[in-house]
């Protein structure tokens, strides 16, 4: 076949109050990995939903394999060879793998036959899966495999992937990329949405860049630098966080031999964690997910209490104090899970601002709420952190992940904490917003706050931290100055030196 596989001409889609896509055109060649780049809210998701038949365009047309293509619903798109792996998996926890796959097929074969095919295809592409397992019991990486295998079973000509790596470990990313390259060699085109620029450079052949719903450029990712792509995406030079080195001050937060049992059945208990964070210092804590990060945050926020002396804030023993008490003393935290932990999904931004800001911002008097002051506080967060939302009365659930993240981090930063602890502060946030958040953390530290950043993003940690440590199975490694650390050292810290001790004994 000559000519493009999919040709998009002048697609436009407007929602009340916002134009999600404005006259977008591009081509995808057969066997090409095509990147769709853009910040949160640039209209990437709407565009692929139109290609997949979930959203009808207001204007414009598409040509697939030489004939007109206007899918009214996903079944039509799948029948024409277009498959999609969603950002938030479209899976059913209570159903097993085979049932989940069957739901994505027009005419699924008998269950046993399907299970056999799932096994074959998944092994062929290096993504082993047990068809009888409940999806609810699978890890994030395995769940994604289910989605991919579901697509592969239909022999797609075009595979759409919406931010596939945001939930994967580095090893899982490698496996995924190997699979995608294999597919590409077999002639499948892939439309790859991401804002991880290095990934796009290593995987994609062409890139189309969207900003505020418009196509602003194309490039060949291998031939440009990540910084150049980021600038095209943001539309201005990307701001690198800058720090003014300050002499470390007094110890603000100290953990003394902190040991807490995890409340969850599958959690990791914390074991003998000792650390100190000084005024003006940013301490970065690395670790693969599930090594005690959530528990450490909970132990600091006061959701988990411990012996009084285990947590010391400015010389005060606060191990037994609950979250409200710790917050009014100035120990603020921002957990990883945005919806449901950091923010109440169905409450407005004003209400969410009140929930953690009431004590320190004086949004409450004699048990009565001061709504106008709370609204004002929410509005200030929105303005300073460039949260894209219609207003302060929007429900937290309605914000995109990146925007909500800016809001929940901003909410704590704006309360002038004495000690701030954040977990995965820029998870799922685009480059420009991530830079804003990191800069805000550094500014706080410069003002004398002690900051603890727990993250799985090593680049981020190296960018912001003064000192660096790693969590492994609930234990903390030695804490070393961040400058001059080699990747090898970091790997050893994350792998857990205590594992080697056992080997010595």
């Amino acid at each position: 076949m000559t000519g493009p596989l999919l040709s998009i001409r002048g697609l436009t889609k407007a929602y009340p109050g916002v134009v999600a896509n404005d006259d977008v055109s591009f081509d995808i060649q057969p066997g090409e990995v095509h990147a769709l780049l853009g910040e949160n809210g640039a209209g990437k998701s709407t565009l692929v939903k139109m290609i997949y038949g979930l959203v009808k365009p207001d204007q414009g047309e598409m040509v697939l394999g030489g004939s007109a293509y206007a899918p009214g619903q996903p079944q039509e798109a799948r029948a024409r060879g277009v498959a999609m792996v969603f950002q938030h998996f479209s899976l059913f926890d209570a159903l097993n793998v085979a049932e989940n796959v069957a739901l994505g097929m027009a005419e699924p074969p008998k269950t046993n036959e399907l299970a056999e095919r799932i096994r074959t295809v998944s092994e062929q592409y290096g993504l082993p899966l047990d068809p009888w397992k409940l999806v609810g019991d699978l890890s994030a990486g395995e769940r994604q495999r289910v989605e991919i295998v579901r697509c592969l079973l239909q022999d797609p000509k075009l595979l759409i992937m919406d931010e596939p790596t945001s939930v994967l470990t580095p090893q899982e990313v490698e496996i995924l990329f190997a699979t995608l390259r294999k597919l590409k060699d077999e002639g499948t085109s892939i439309l790859y949405i991401s804002h991880k620029l290095e990934e796009i450079r290593s995987l994609c052949d062409e890139a189309t860049i969207l900003r505020l719903g418009r196509k602003v450029g194309t490039c060949t990712p291998r031939e440009v630098t990540a910084a150049q792509m980021a600038e095209m995406m943001v539309g201005s030079e990307l701001h690198r966080p800058e720090r003014t080195p300050a002499a470390p001050g007094a110890v603000r937060l100290a953990l003394n031999d902190l040991s807490v049992a995890s409340p969850g059945q599958f959690g990791t208990s914390l074991k003998n964690i000792t650390l100190e964070v000084r005024a003006g210092e940013v301490l970065g804590l690395a670790g693969v997910a599930g090594n005690g990060q959530d528990e450490l945050l909970a132990a600091l926020s006061g959701e988990l209490t411990c012996k009084a002396g285990m947590v010391v804030l400015d010389g005060r023993e606060i191990g037994t104090a609950g979250p409200g008490q710790r917050r009014s003393l100035g120990l603020l935290t921002a957990p990883e899970e945005r919806l449901g932990h950091a923010a109440a999904p169905d409450m407005s931004l004003t209400e969410n601002a009140l929930l953690t800001g009431a004590e320190r911002e004086g949004l409450m008097a004699n048990g009565f709420l001061k709504w106008s002051k709370a609204r004002d506080f929410a509005a200030r967060i929105i303005e300073r952190f460039d949260v894209r939302t219609p207003g302060t009365e929007t429900a937290a659930r309605a914000l995109s992940g990146g925007n909500l993240q800016k809001f929940v981090i901003g909410r704590e930063v704006m309360q002038r904490p004495e000690v701030l602890v954040v977990n995965q502060p820029t998870w799922g946030v685009d480059a420009a917003a991530a830079a804003t958040i990191r800069q805000a953390l550094l500014d706080l530290a410069a003002g004398g706050t002690a900051v603890v950043v727990i993250s799985q993003d090593l680049d981020e940690l190296m960018e912001v931290s003064d000192n660096f440590g790693a969590l492994n199975e609930g234990r903390l490694s030695e804490i070393l100055p961040a400058t001059g650390l080699t990747m090898e050292q970091i790997g050893l810290m994350m792998g857990g030196a205590h594992g080697m001790e056992v080997a010595h004994v």
Binding site: G53, L54, Q73, P74, Q75, R78, F86, H88, F89, S90, L91, F92, D93, A94, L95, E99, A102, L103, G104, P108
Partner: protein, 306 residues
């Protein structure tokens, strides 16, 4: 007191009759909840079915037409619920409670002229040979058709959910409506159909009370059976055979305690009256201690824009 006056064969035979109304209503509600909709209006749909069935049977003289009318009445009332919750996106809990109140009021309005009348008798199915078997015959093979219909319904619903594509889609919609929508399934249409099925079943269950169990009409005669049906679904962990077990347990203890009351056992009648509710819920709570499997989207409104 004379416990020996209780005839175990009659007891077992009446157990199946006592359980049928709750069983049919609960199986209908199970389908509704599997689709992710919580319809708390079962009691209202049952009582509406009871009077619709009663009125139709008395007017036409045919219990069959009565049962059909009951199913239609229950489904009609559930359509109201479907409109409120699926199109107007009203809160399901509030709408369901309102439906119960509305059904109770509507039924007493319709039933004004029917108090004190006897409905045409529903024929009992005396299967030749089988019903002559001692003990087993009267227990298992000499009931009316609706009893067997209830059993068949459990089997059909179980097979539908487990083995058919339709059942898989229904479960998918109840499990994650956003994902089902993303895959191109018509969430609202499937839920409306499930609600109508649940309404029809509740109506049938209600008519079984007014036409067979207590063949007469009195206001509020379902007496909380709809609530028991709702509880059964939850405590049976949304599993059809457990619903059957729960319903038979409930029916069994109901019949037993009535017999014990009649036999003059030295326990206050109030305790005996509450025993079916207590024992059924207790047993099912113990059984549902394993991984409880509530549909994840249960009770949540769905709109395609989200």
């Amino acid at each position: 007191m004379d416990v020996s006056a209780i005839n175990p064969v009659l007891l077992l035979a009446s157990l199946m009759v006592a359980a049928t109304a709750v069983l049919i209503a609960a199986v209908g509600e199970l389908i509704v909840e599997k689709a992710g909709v919580l319809n708390l209006g079962v009691e209202g749909m049952m009582i509406t079915g009871a009077i619709c069935g009663f009125a139709a049977a008395v007017t036409t003289g045919s219990p069959t037409i009565g049962f059909i009318a009951a199913a239609a009445g229950g489904a009609g009332l559930s359509l109201l619920f479907a409109l409120l919750t699926q199109f107007a996106l009203a809160n399901q809990v509030a709408s369901g409670l309102a439906l119960t109140l509305f059904g109770l009021g509507l039924s007493s309005l319709i039933g004004q002229g029917y108090v004190g009348i006897k409905p045409p008798p529903t024929p009992e199915l005396d299967i030749p040979l089988l019903s002559d078997i001692p003990v087993l015959g009267p227990v298992l093979f000499s009931h009316d058709l609706v009893v067997y219909f209830g059993l068949a319904l459990v089997a059909v619903v179980w097979a539908f959910l487990k083995f058919t594509r339709g059942g898989l889609i229904l479960r998918a919609v109840g499990e994650n409506h956003a994902a089902a929508h993303a895959l191109g399934y018509k969430v609202v249409r499937i839920r409306v159909l499930a609600i109508l099925f649940g309404g029809a079943c509740a109506g049938l269950g209600g008519a079984y009370v007014s036409l067979v169990r207590v063949p007469q009409w009195t206001e509020g005669m379902t007496g909380g059976a709809g609530w028991i049906a709702l509880a059964l679904v939850v405590f049976a962990s949304w599993k059809p055979w457990r619903v059957l077990l729960g319903a038979y347990l409930f029916g069994g203890v109901t019949v037993l305690q009535l017999n014990l009351q009649a036999a003059g056992i030295a326990v206050p009648a109030e305790y005996l009256s509450m025993s079916p509710y207590l024992i059924t819920i207790l047993v099912l709570v113990i059984m549902s201690a394993d991984r409880s499997a509530a549909p994840a989207s249960l009770g949540r409104s769905f709109h395609a824009s989200q």
